[in-house]
């Protein structure tokens, strides 16, 4: 538990900044909804003027864009992108900072097994991600309530918001894996940004190509806001894909980390 609490302390400031940024961003964006939905026909005409490819890349669906959920769902893709960076930073950094900061000798010569070290750090990261999501959902719900013009389906809204948690879990576990695969990570951002943006760009290309199977390639395509709105559910096959990726990443991380040699800091 010692490491767990210490990690929460270490990450407190960063996490609060992320939370505030999310809450502020969501509220600011949703405040535009009133103006946007005020003159639907005008806005619709504007959007129809965009070539279909551009709309696909941007993830705009004209039919749902003007409901509060659709409007929120549009922004969600970009929130995922930001949330992914947070999760990836956290996952990549929480272990690798012991190596890059040369504190691994200190920590691992304590009477605690590698397994417990990793579990504590994983638990702390999970708590941070869940806490962020609580703020995220609350801010989203609050903004939607304030700026809505009509009532919306709370279940669909909740499911839509929760996609953030799943996307973050994907990148958190991937970050953990990266942190044990790369011998020494000097800058966490040098890994998290290219990887997250890489997946994001694959997602954008998917939207243009429209190949169904290509959706497995990127977590940004695992959750389709349109599908959630229609069925009030996730698509199981993608949920399973995600679970598989997370489990494999975490298990491999455990295997590598418990066997790894900690080199003398130089």
């Amino acid at each position: 538990m010692n490491i767990f609490w210490q990690e929460l302390r270490f990450n407190r400031r960063t996490t609060i900044i992320w939370m505030v940024a999310f809450a502020f961003g969501i509220f600011s964006y949703m405040s535009l909804y009133t103006a946007f939905s005020h003159d639907v026909s005008q806005s619709m005409k504007l959007l129809q003027g965009f070539p279909p490819v551009v709309r696909a890349v941007l993830g705009i669906r004209i039919e749902s864009f003007f409901t509060v959920l659709g409007f929120f769902g549009y922004m969600l893709t970009y929130l995922w992108l930001i949330g992914s960076i947070q999760a990836m930073n956290l996952g990549t950094g929480i272990l690798s900072k012991e190596i890059s900061g040369k504190t691994a000798d200190f920590l691992l010569s304590k009477p605690i097994s590698r397994f417990k070290v990793l579990t504590s750090k994983l638990a702390a990261a999970l708590v941070i991600i869940i806490a962020t999501n609580i703020v995220f959902v609350t801010a989203s719900y609050f903004s939607a309530e304030v700026f809505k013009t009509k009532d919306f389906d709370v279940t669909v809204f909740a499911l839509t918001c929760l996609t953030m948690l799943f996307i973050q879990l994907f990148f958190l576990s991937l970050g953990f894996l990266i942190s044990v695969l790369v011998p020494k990570i000097k800058s966490v951002l040098a890994y998290s940004l290219p990887i997250v943006f890489g997946f994001f760009i694959i997602g954008m290309l998917d939207s243009v190509i429209g190949a169904e199977n290509a959706r497995y390639l990127t977590p940004f395509k695992y959750f389709d806001v349109g599908y959630i709105a229609l069925h009030s559910a996730y698509e199981w096959r993608f949920l399973l894909t995600e679970a598989l990726v997370v489990i494999v990443c975490v298990v491999v991380t455990y295997i590598i980390f418990t066997r790894r040699d900690i080199q003398a800091p130089v």
């Binding site: 010692n2 900061g101 000798d105 691992l108 304590k110 009477p111 417990k116 066997r259 040699d261 900690i262």
Partner: protein, 295 residues
């Protein structure tokens, strides 16, 4: 009882050798020196004992328990101080020390008392940020976090860097006090005078292999003599050929110098036949013996 026992402990880093067939026994209550130049395998041995790296082959026990199976249990009773200490950015000394203390099962009140005593003894301000500390003061943080749980075995890997002579003296006194209480100490260093001051027995390691284990006293005594002769004329090198035990022979126009280990009579006969102007026979210091093992 043996506190540390290694059997054919071997570590390869990929293909390059770390240590090979290291057999060491450190007895309870002993201060055991571990000397060798940089890169000889001192740290590799210590890091293997601590479970930071995993042995390629061979085995080791500490307190009679296998290091690969009981790592956390063993570390409960070990205090480790590396040559360079690194801690978390932005942390205060006291927070780091408390974090460290929380890993141990020992009564927290006993530990708190001990922390205060050590801080006073080493003259360290616990309220400062670690980032603001000098190298030597960081080392003190290392000493406190290594000793706060009153370990039964203290492992020191070239620990004195950064400490001024006065503080080094205090640190050694502290180690002697601990040793008097029955604590076993493994002290690795490449500085012989330190080892000579503190240790009972010493192992010399070279290129990953233990080349000698001996008592400090027997290592220094009756092994080698340093002969320094001043001669009237240049002595021919052939005068010394065929005599066993001569090493490090240097002949100049009017001096001869060598290390000798063997029958003293044999050498005095030869010296008697030379045209000497002066002669000096010294106990070589450990440094010289040590160098002898490395040349």
């Amino acid at each position: 009882m043996n506190i540390i026992e290694t059997k054919k402990l071997t570590k390869y880093y990929g293909k390059s050798l770390g240590i090979e067939n290291v057999d060491l026994t450190v007895k309870e209550g002993e201060i055991f020196g571990f000397i060798g130049p940089n890169g000889a395998g001192k740290s590799t041995t210590i890091r293997t004992l601590l479970g930071l790296i995993h042995p390629t082959s061979g085995s080791a026990t500490i307190f009679g328990r296998d290091i690969t199976k009981f790592g956390p249990e063993i570390n409960e009773e070990i205090g480790y101080l590396p040559s360079e200490v690194f801690y978390y950015d932005g942390m205060k000394v006291i927070d780091l020390i408390k974090y460290s203390a929380n890993f141990y099962k020992k009564d927290s009140r006993v530990i708190s008392k001990r922390i205060k005593e050590l801080a006073v003894y080493l003259d360290l301000d616990l309220k400062k940020k670690i980032d603001d500390l000098s190298y030597g003061n960081k080392k003190k943080v290392g000493i406190i976090q290594g000793l706060l749980h009153e370990p039964k075995l203290i492992i020191l890997d070239e620990p004195t860097g950064g400490l001024d002579p006065l503080m080094q003296q205090r640190f050694f006194d502290l180690l002697r006090q601990e040793n008097k209480k029955g604590v076993t100490i493994l002290f690795s260093s490449h500085i012989l005078s330190e080892v000579q001051k503190l240790c009972d027995r010493v192992a010399i390691i070279k290129n990953g292999k233990i080349i000698r284990v001996d008592k400090i006293s027997s290592l220094a005594e009756n092994t080698h003599k340093r002969f320094k002769l001043e001669t009237a004329v240049r002595v021919d090198k052939s005068r010394f050929t065929g005599i066993r035990g001569i090493s490090d022979l240097v002949i100049t126009d009017n001096s001869v110098s060598f290390l000798f280990r063997g029958r003293i009579n044999e050498i005095t006969k030869i010296i008697a036949s030379l045209n000497l102007t002066n002669m000096l026979v010294e106990e070589p210091d450990l440094e010289e013996i040590f160098m002898h093992y490395y040349v």
